[in-house]
Amino acid sequence: MSSQNNINFRQLSEGDKRQWDEFVEQYSALIYSVIRKLLLLYRKEVQDWDLNEIFQEVFVRLIKDEYRLLKTYDPGKAALSTWLTIVTRSTTIDYLRRIPAQHQPLDNIEVASSNDENEVFSSIDLPKHLLTSRQKLVLELLFEKDLDVSEAAAVLGVDAQTIRSTKHKALEVLRKYFKKET
């Protein structure tokens, strides 16, 4: 059964008005709050006009072209709230890139594209399997993103001790490897 919190997802994506109203009621708070947070993050202030525009745009994006985007959601994979947060983030970032804030040149907006394809390059390509993907990811978070152990743990959904031991093992591997090379 593809339903979440009394929402029948099949009926919703087939255009059932009652399900749509229920969906709006249940998830508008989440969408609204995510947009607010992102506006504060990127614009340092929340303009009601922007907030309303993005809010409506999220819902429109979901139902556009016969509910095309909404139909891509797979209830078996993740919670609807998680998926909607990603959609809201993408919509907000697209909006911020498209409509720059008043008195702020577009170049000054440091917003990562929500279309991440093609422009991304790996920075890590040492001998294959030198480090596991988890080890590389942990080091990337700690060294490149400058997160502390607890923050990295929260990002990966693991406990802090896992991060510490992963980091320790990864650095041991690197020590041995570079010692051998020199």
Binding site: S28, F55, Y67, R89, S122, D125, L126, L139, L174
Partner: protein
């Protein structure tokens, strides 16, 4: 805690690691996969594949970090007017979206309705061209299925039958 801090030697190791790597193009994962990873439902090889990608894709890693922040924010209710406007994006009559720019195609693809509306438009145009008279047709007439009679009426008004065009 001592192990939480990054010392100079560790940073040098990382620096060597980065220097010896070469750039490689990677393919980003879709929102469903990222959602599944965030919800802890991406296990086994799929989870490994996701972490492999995250370790090599700054944009996706940034997205992941920001998503963790967004999923933990305090939720506040949206104003009623905004909610109502969002609800209005789907109409109550047909359960169809009000955003479908090509919704009129559906009407055309429904033979009975399209014929009836076509006749109505034809009659209005014909009336205007011929004499400027305003034709009044009840909705019952239009939708009664008497489309043949209506077509004849329209042709008559246009004078096509009288002139021997048809």
């Amino acid at each position: 805690m001592e192990e939480s801090k990054i010392n100079k030697e560790e940073r040098q190791l990382w620096s060597c690691f980065k220097k010896t790597s070469r750039q490689r193009k990677t393919v980003c994962l879709n929102d469903n996969s990222l959602s599944a990873y965030l919800d802890g439902r991406l296990k086994g090889s799929k989870g490994k594949f996701m972490e492999e990608h995250l370790a090599s894709c700054p944009a996706c890693l940034e997205k992941l970090i920001q998503m963790r922040v967004l999923l933990a924010i305090e939720i506040e209710e949206a104003p009623l007017t905004m909610r109502q406007k969002a609800k209005d994006h789907v109409s109550g009559d047909l359960g169809q979206t009000n955003q479908d720019a090509f919704a009129w195609w559906k009407l055309i693809l429904q033979p009975q309705k399209s014929l009836a509306w076509g006749v109505v438009l034809l009659l209005i145009c014909a009336a205007g061209i011929k004499s400027g008279e305003i034709m009044t047709l009840s909705r019952a007439e239009v939708f009664s299925g008497q489309s043949n009679n209506l077509v004849e009426s329209a042709l008559d008004v246009l004078g096509m039958q009288d002139n021997g065009i048809i």
